[in-house]
C-alpha cells in the first residue's frame, strides 16, 4: 500500500524518512503557529462542504495542537512521520496486528485505521506519554519483570492495549487476559510473559484509573 502523504503544513516536498524529518517537524511547528492565527471559521466552512485538507485540533500526550493535513493522513502516520513519535509501530497497517495501538480518550484503538480528520477535540495517549517524569509506567515495568517480549517491536502496542484491557475490566484471569489481548500479535511468541505482566500490573493500573 502506498504510504499516505503527511501534513500539508510541512514546507516543501518530503525527501526521505526520519532523519530529514527532524527538520521538517520544526518547520511544520512554525507553520502551525501561523495557521492557528485565524482558522476556526475556515475550518468550519471547509468541513461543511468537504475538504481534502481538513484542519483539526487535538491533544497528543497532553499537548494541544492544530494541524491542516491531507484527509488521508492516519493517526499512525502523523505520530511517526510528523511528530517523530516513533514508539507507535507500523505492523500490518490494516488493524490486524495491534502494533499501532494507542489510547484515544482513554480507549485503545488501532491508530492505523484512525483518520486524523476525525480527531477534533480528542485526547491521544501514546507509549511516549505514559511514563511519569522518567519513571516507568507500572505496565512497562511489568513487561520488563516478566520478559513480556523478545524483539520488542510489538511491545508498545501490547503495553497500550494492556492498559486498556485492565481499564475495561477484562484482566480478571489469565484466560480473560488472553481473550481480551487477542488484538495484539507477537511474532516472538512472548504471550506467556505478556499475560504474566498484565496480571502483575493489574492492581496498580486499576488504582491509577
Amino acid at each position: 500500500m502506498a504510504k499516505t502523504p503527511g501534513g500539508t503544513n510541512r514546507e516543501g516536498p518530503r525527501v526521505s524518512r526520519r532523519g530529514l524529518l527532524q527538520g521538517s517537524v520544526a518547520s511544520g511547528a512554525a507553520a502551525l503557529g501561523n495557521f492557528a492565527g485565524g482558522a476556526a471559521q475556515a475550518q468550519a466552512d471547509a468541513q461543511a462542504t468537504g475538504s481534502t485538507t481538513p484542519t483539526v485540533s487535538f491533544s497528543i500526550n497532553g499537548k494541544t495542537q492544530t494541524a491542516t493535513l491531507d484527509a488521508r493522513t492516519t493517526l499512525l502516520d502523523y505520530l511517526r512521520e510528523d511528530l517523530d513519535l516513533t514508539g507507535t509501530k507500523v505492523g500490518c497497517n490494516h488493524a490486524q496486528c495491534g502494533a499501532c495501538t494507542v489510547l484515544i480518550d482513554g480507549a485503545r484503538v488501532n491508530s492505523c485505521l484512525t483518520l486524523m480528520a476525525t480527531l477534533e477535540g480528542s485526547e491521544v495517549t501514546t507509549i511516549e506519554g505514559i511514563s511519569d517524569e522518567g519513571e516507568l509506567h507500572p505496565m512497562q515495568q511489568a513487561f520488563i519483570d516478566n520478559d513480556g517480549f523478545q524483539c520488542g517491536y510489538c511491545t508498545p502496542g501490547q503495553i497500550m492495549s494492556a492498559i486498556g484491557c485492565v481499564r475495561e475490566g477484562h484482566a480478571g484471569s489469565a484466560p480473560e487476559i488472553r481473550e481480551y489481548m487477542s488484538g495484539n500479535l507477537c511474532r516472538c511468541g512472548a504471550y506467556k510473559g505478556i499475560v504474566a505482566a498484565v496480571e502483575q500490573a493489574r492492581d496498580q493500573v486499576e488504582e491509577a484509573g
Binding site: P54, G98, R108, N110, T118, E179, G183, N184
Partner: protein, 336 residues
C-alpha cells in the same frame, strides 16, 4: 489510498443530502463511522470514494427499552453493546456474537450501523488484480475455482460465493428486528431479514438500502425466552478470527422438549442466514444428539461445496448441534 474530501455535517439528515452516493464501481461518496471496513478497503483501493461523510457522532448511541422492544442506536460501539446488560441478560447471543468478533481495539470504534454492512473477506474481492463480480460487475469470479476454503456453501451463485463476514447479524436475524433508516425520501423501516440480498447474478448489490440511505438504529423484539440463546463460533484460531462456521441459537424449551428453535448461521453463507427448515423440524422434538444432527443435515440440505470449502458442510452441521446443546445447557441463573 486515493485522495478524498472529508466532510462532517451537522446531522444525520444533512449527511444523507451530502453523501454523494457511491456507485457499484466504488466512486462517489461514502459514509464514515468507525471506519474499520471503509478505511481498510480504501487502503487496498477496493473502495475509492471521492468523499467521506463522517456520521460517527451524528448517529444515536446507546440501548434502551422503547415500545416494549429494545432500541439500539446505530452509533453504539460493538464494545459498549457487548457489555450491555440488556444483551447479556436478555439475549446472550447478541452479546456473544459481538465479543467473539474482531479485536478489542476494533470493537472500541466499530459501530453497529456499519457492522451489519461489513464487506466480505473473500480474498479475490480484496485483491484488485483478481476477477470479482462483486467489486467489478461482469469481470467474473476468481473464487469458484480458486482458493475458496473460507468461502460460502449456502446462498451462492456461479457469479459469487463470497461469505458474509459479520457475526452480530447472524444473531440479530433470530429476532424480529426493524432497521430504522434515514434517506433522501425521509425515514423508514426495513425488516432486518429483508436487508441483505443474495448475490444471484448481481453480487455487487448486497442490500436493499439505497445509495444514500443511512441506518440509524434497530428495534429488536425479544421473546422472554431469548435468555436461552448462544453464539457458537468455530474459528481457525481461538480468538480474533472470522468464523469458519458459526451458529446463533435461541431455544424455547419445556423440560427437554423444544417448543420453538431459532437458528442463524455465519461463516457458511453469502448473507446472514436463517435455517428455518431446521427450526421447523426441531419444534416439538426432544433435543438429543440425533435430533440436533438431523437439524444440521436439514439446514445444509441445499448446500454446495466448491472444493476447498466442502468441509464446511459437515462442520456447519456439527456447529448447529453444538449450538443447540450449549443453548439447552443454559440455566436462567447461569446467565449474567
Amino acid at each position: 489510498m486515493k485522495s478524498f474530501a472529508y466532510q462532517k455535517p451537522a446531522s444525520a439528515q444533512a449527511a444523507v443530502g451530502m453523501v454523494d452516493p457511491m456507485s457499484a464501481a466504488g466512486q462517489g461518496g461514502a459514509f464514515l463511522a468507525g471506519g474499520t471496513t471503509v478505511l481498510d478497503l480504501m487502503k487496498l483501493h477496493v473502495l475509492t470514494p471521492d468523499s467521506l461523510t463522517d456520521v460517527k457522532t451524528l448517529l444515536p448511541a446507546g440501548i434502551e427499552e422503547r415500545d416494549g422492544a429494545l432500541y439500539v442506536g446505530a452509533g453504539t460501539t460493538m464494545a459498549a453493546a457487548a457489555e450491555h446488560p440488556a444483551f447479556r441478560d436478555r439475549a446472550p447471543a447478541l452479546s456473544d456474537a459481538l465479543w467473539k468478533a474482531a479485536s478489542p481495539q476494533l470493537r472500541n470504534v466499530a459501530t453497529l450501523g456499519g457492522n451489519v454492512l461489513q464487506r466480505t473477506r473473500c480474498p479475490y474481492f480484496r485483491d484488485v488484480a483478481s476477477a470479482c463480480n462483486k467489486r467489478e460487475p461482469g469481470s467474473g469470479c476468481a473464487a469458484t475455482e480458486g482458493v475458496n476454503r473460507l468461502l460460502a456453501v449456502l446462498g451462492t451463485s456461479e457469479d459469487c460465493i463470497a461469505t458474509y463476514a459479520g457475526d452480530w447479524a447472524n444473531a440479530l436475524i433470530l429476532f424480529d428486528t426493524q432497521v430504522e433508516v434515514t434517506g433522501p425520501e425521509g425515514d423508514r423501516t426495513i425488516a432486518f431479514e429483508d436487508l441483505h440480498t443474495l448475490p444471484g447474478d448481481t453480487p455487487a448489490v448486497e442490500t436493499t438500502l439505497g445509495d444514500a440511505d443511512l441506518i440509524t438504529g434497530y428495534l429488536i423484539d425479544l421473546p422472554d425466552w431469548a435468555w436461552r440463546s448462544v453464539y457458537t463460533k468455530v474459528r481457525d484460531r481461538e480468538s480474533y478470527a472470522f468464523a469458519v462456521a458459526s451458529a446463533a441459537v435461541a431455544l424455547d424449551m419445556e423440560e427437554d422438549t423444544i417448543r420453538e428453535a431459532r437458528i442463524g448461521l455465519g461463516g457458511v453463507a453469502t448473507v446472514p442466514w436463517r435455517a428455518r427448515a431446521a427450526e421447523d423440524y426441531l419444534a416439538g422434538k426432544t433435543l438429543t444428539e440425533e435430533t440436533g444432527l438431523e437439524a444440521g443435515r436439514i439446514a445444509f440440505a441445499d448446500a454446495r461445496g466448491w472444493g476447498h470449502n466442502d468441509f464446511k458442510i459437515p462442520l456447519g452441521q456439527q456447529t448447529i448441534l453444538r449450538g443447540l446443546m450449549e443453548a439447552a445447557a443454559l440455566t436462567r441463573e447461569g446467565t449474567q
